[in-house]
Symmetry: C2
Subunit: 205 residues, 2 copies
DNA sequence: GAACTCTAATACACAACTGTATCTGAATTC
DNA sequence: GAATTCAGATACAGTTGTGTATTAGAGTTC
């Protein structure tokens, strides 16, 4: 198996990616604080040297991790907006939206971890808030477009609705993860759907 | 100033309470993992000896802390139910409800911390879920009673609505804490109110 | 291919936390 | 009021982590 010979830049990039991937797993499993730099590097197959030569600090790596995830979600939502808004099936629409935001548990845990960390670290909070507001704006746009196509008025400001939607998704996702027995599999969608159909359609009378 | 002479039991109880109070502050500030036993005891004016003679572990103390907070909230909600359900002002109703659940930031952070911890520790999760389900049931009852008095049908199962409400409150509270500038002061109530008035009143047409 | 450069490994010095084991002094018992 | 008991302080041994300074070995340049 002829292993490709990497340039310095490629090799460095590979290391960074592997460290980020390993960090995602480790942090989701143990939490940001409890995860040591060695946990990350060990998992990735490197030593601490590799880490400090690629990242300033654990926080620094963490924010890059979040950005990477953020970009993925943004692109996914954008795609939904472009291709799928035509379907009038709210339930399906929401299910897609929801799974776009939290396809897997790792992602949820990472963002929950981030929210907590942001309460304590002002600099981090600023950077995180920027990402969150971006996400909010995309969702707000999503909602606006949705209502427009449905020819219905917005029941509140799109930005506020977007925030509420994010909170709601987080909350439902948590219960879904934490009590898989307690809720039926589709509880997430059905609760969301009940609330949103009332919110968006209710005002039509 | 004649300082009261305490019995052994009283003194022990005082120590426990002081440790719990100090732990709430420390954990909210630094996070569960980052808070050392010494942080707690130091803040409370004791040494590690006092801690280990009162609690099995940090987790053990933490769950007691949550229980204490849980009981407070439960009682508060119960009281709301008994005295205040007569008022028909939804906005005011929600504001009270919301401030009952998260009067201060410490409490929010503690529960966020708990949710994350529960993802990782199965035993802890079981104990936490028990508390959450209790809270859910009280809220579900709250919602049921509310709808009954308003003579309107429930737009979804009370239990599911309660979960959604908890998630929504959490989400809004987070944004409220994290971006105090971004949202108007009453955003929490107004978003909640927009969603809920649609949810509960929308179906009446 | 020799000199150079940069990535990542290794070595080091230091700090922090944990849990137990032992000790002390104040409350309790008789 | 002497003996006892228990809450909490102190001492200890071991583990784990951090960040920097140095080194080795690949990629790069000429």
């Amino acid at each position: 198996m002829p292993r490709k010979r990497l340039t310095r830049e490629e090799s460095r990039e590979q290391t960074r990616v592997r460290l980020l991937d390993a960090a995602a797993v480790a942090i989701a499993k143990k939490g940001l604080t409890a995860t040591s730099v060695e946990d990350i590097t060990g998992h990735a197959g490197y030593t601490r040297g590799a880490f400090y030569s690629n990242f300033k600090s654990k926080t620094d790596l963490f924010i890059e991790l979040l950005k990477r995830d953020h970009v993925d979600v943004q692109e996914g939502l954008q795609q939904l907006l472009d291709t799928d808004l035509s379907g009038k099936d709210l339930q399906r629409q929401l299910a897609l939206f929801y799974s776009q935001c939290y396809g897997d548990n790792t992602s949820y845990v990472l963002w929950a971890e981030a929210r907590l960390h942001s309460v304590r670290d002002a600099k981090f909070r600023q950077r995180l808030n920027a990402l969150c507001l971006e996400k909010r704006d995309v969702i707000a746009y999503f909602i606006t477009q949705f209502c427009k196509r449905m020819e219905m008025p917005l029941p509140a400001s799109a930005a506020d609705l977007a925030l509420a939607m994010m909170g709601l998704c987080d909350g439902v996702k948590y219960f879904n993860m934490s009590m898989p027995g307690e809720l039926p599999d589709n509880a997430a969608e059905s609760v969301l759907s009940a609330i949103f159909s009332a919110t968006f359609f209710g005002s039509r009378a």
